[in-house]
């Protein structure tokens, strides 16, 4: 009788402990989940739905199937946006990553009194808000009073004075890209630096004993060990280009013509200038699907190179 009561009591206590535990878990996860449910999951689901609708904010939405996507892929604005996303990603990988490797390797290989301040300087531009970066970009490239044109005028270099960095269809893309390279190469630099510093210390010494020094060491020993890091960076470059909006929008608003338009700008134009919610949502879906594809590629690469870590 007594034993039965005792076990009933302990069962109750255990039950209460379990209930407390569950309640604790519930209330800890609740806030994060609530915010995500309302401001992320719901909007994403809604974007998918809207992308199949004719929707302009006025009047009822109407289901039109794949019409939005068909119109998009037929429109020059979207085609150019997609093209620029891939061009941007391609050139980021080709130009920014090797440059970052050169700087990262040098800053970890040669250590002297300049190393420390330079590490801080190389990341500095990365921290600036994009509006400020755009402002600096215009400071350098603007046709009225821009630094480069002004230098050209002052030195009597007509060719430099006459380059229309932001207004020429063939040059605008590269001007914006130059500003982005200036601003965003800092991240791959510090990322690669931290990866290089994580490598075992005796690797360098062993290589030196074998006579593999300097840039031979960089090429044959360090570089192969950074495969995984480069793959991550390449994916980040690609996803970054898919999301690209701020710099080209503020520097050239996507122009001249479609010369610097991106998917982000196209989405903004369709959604908030033409009020074509449906078509803008379709662009959002394309951005999402492409970034998920590239993220999956990252994880696939990740697992292969570093044993799942």
């Amino acid at each position: 009788m007594q034993a039965g009561e005792l076990s009933a009591m302990s069962r109750q206590i255990r039950k209460k402990a379990e209930r407390d535990r569950r309640r604790f878990i519930f209330f800890c996860i609740l806030p994060a989940f609530l915010f995500l449910a309302v401001f992320m999951y719901y909007p994403i689901a809604e974007t998918f739905r809207l992308s199949f609708m004719k929707s302009s904010g006025l009047g009822a939405d109407r289901f039109i199937g794949w019409e939005n996507y068909k119109k998009l892929f037929a429109s020059e604005e979207f085609q150019q946006g997609l093209l620029h996303v891939f061009l941007w990603a391609f050139w980021s990988i080709i130009i920014q990553l090797p440059l970052a490797f050169f700087i990262a390797f040098s800053l970890t290989f040669y250590i002297n009194r300049f190393t420390r301040p330079m590490r801080a300087i190389f990341y500095l531009a990365n921290v600036l808000p994009s509006a400020i970066t755009a402002m600096l970009g215009k400071f350098v490239f603007s046709p009225t009073n821009g630094i480069l044109n002004s230098i050209g005028a002052n030195a009597g270099w007509k060719w430099l004075e006459d380059i229309d960095f932001l207004g020429d269809v063939h040059i605008a893309f590269w001007s914006v890209f130059a500003v982005a390279t200036w601003a965003y190469t800092g991240f791959p630099i510090i990322f690669l630096m931290s990866k290089i510093e994580q490598m075992p210390k005796d690797m360098k010494e062993a290589a030196e004993i074998d006579g593999v020094t300097g840039w031979k060491y960089a090429w044959y020993i360090v570089l192969p060990n950074l495969k995984g890091a480069f793959r991550i960076l390449a994916v980040l470059c690609t996803i970054g280009s898919l999301k690209l909006f701020d710099l080209p929008y503020m520097m050239t608003t996507g122009g001249p013509g479609y010369a610097t338009i991106t998917l982000g700008i196209s989405l903004y134009r369709q959604g908030f200038i033409n009020w074509q919610y449906g078509r803008a949502s379709a662009i959002g879906v394309v951005i999402l699907i492409l970034s998920l594809v590239f993220t999956v590629l990252e994880f696939a690469g990740h697992g292969g190179d570093e044993g799942g870590k």
């Binding site: 994060a32 915010f35 401001f39 230098i151 990322f191």
Partner: protein
């Protein structure tokens, strides 16, 4: 560090190249000082002459043209709001995901983690419509909430890996001494997570501070414009046609970030890398 190996000529050449490269980073930030003390006339006459006097009125002009005071205040509210929403909810969720692992919590963790890979562009239109429905359109709160929702997954991930690295013995001991779940968290575990919290405070602040796209969509009222919207509006309205004032605008709007970086660059670098390296 400490061990200074000398590599002779290659080291000198590479160091010179690196110094030139870092000057490329610094030069656009320093050059505005060449122009900022000149009158428009002096500038038009000879932009590259050394300034002859210290003329401060350009700063005042730029301050007024950008209308920076209100912008700064709004940005500050948005940044603090984003911190207030993001950091506590990420810390709580991250703690449970690290220390109360079960099948259910793992599934929920991955559900939150997915958010890390979702670009905000994906939700802009519904978010905009949602804000109208909720009566939050054109308010700072209507900007803070979605912004935070898109920051939470990342910081949950960081808190989770930080808490997971803390030994279980401490919380177990506290539990045996009779401390409840909440007491264990608030008295033992959260203080131990201070390094993660410092990073979160700083980097969430910077993300919110730097935001442009979401603010552009969510805020129409000029009075609510954040600093970055003010700057971009200044770019549209005035452009570079009065260079001395433009230079002053560059210097002023850059200043908060530069100051933040001077004092906090160690943590900023550390936090950025923590996010990139963990998992």
């Amino acid at each position: 560090m400490g061990r200074h190996v000398r590599y002779g000529v290659p080291e000198v050449i590479i160091t010179i190249i690196l110094i030139l490269l870092s000057l490329t980073i610094l030069l656009p930030m320093l050059l505005p000082w060449m122009f900022v003390f000149k009158t428009q006339l002096e500038y038009a006459y000879d932009p590259w002459a050394w300034p002859k006097q210290f003329l401060w009125s350009n700063f005042q002009d730029a301050w007024e043209a950008i209308q920076i005071g209100q912008g700064l205040l709004n940005t500050l509210i948005v940044s603090l709001g984003a911190i207030l929403v993001t950091v506590p909810s990420s810390a709580l969720a991250g703690y449970v995901f690290a220390k109360y692992r079960s099948k259910t919590t793992e599934i929920l963790f991955y559900a939150i983690l997915i958010g890390y890979f979702i670009p905000i562009q994906m939700g802009l239109i519904p978010l905009y419509k949602l804000n109208i429905k909720l009566g939050l359109s054109n308010t700072l709160i209507g900007l803070i909430l979605p912004m935070s929702a898109f920051l939470i997954p990342f910081w949950t991930l960081i808190y989770r890996s930080f808490f997971a690295a803390l030994p279980n013995e401490l919380s177990d001991a506290a539990r045996i001494d009779g401390a409840g779940h909440w007491a264990t968290l608030s008295r033992i575990m959260l203080p131990l997570a201070n390094p993660a919290t410092v990073l979160a405070l700083l980097l969430v602040f910077i993300s919110a501070w730097s935001d442009y796209f979401l603010s552009l969509i969510m805020l129409n009222d000029q009075k609510l414009f954040t600093m970055q919207l003010r700057v971009s509006q200044f770019l549209n309205a005035y452009g570079t046609d009065r260079m001395p004032r433009y230079a002053a605008a560059v210097i002023i709007s850059m200043a908060p970030t530069i100051i933040m970086y001077l004092f906090g660059h160690r943590w900023i670098l550390q936090g950025t890398l923590a996010g990139a390296i963990k998992e």
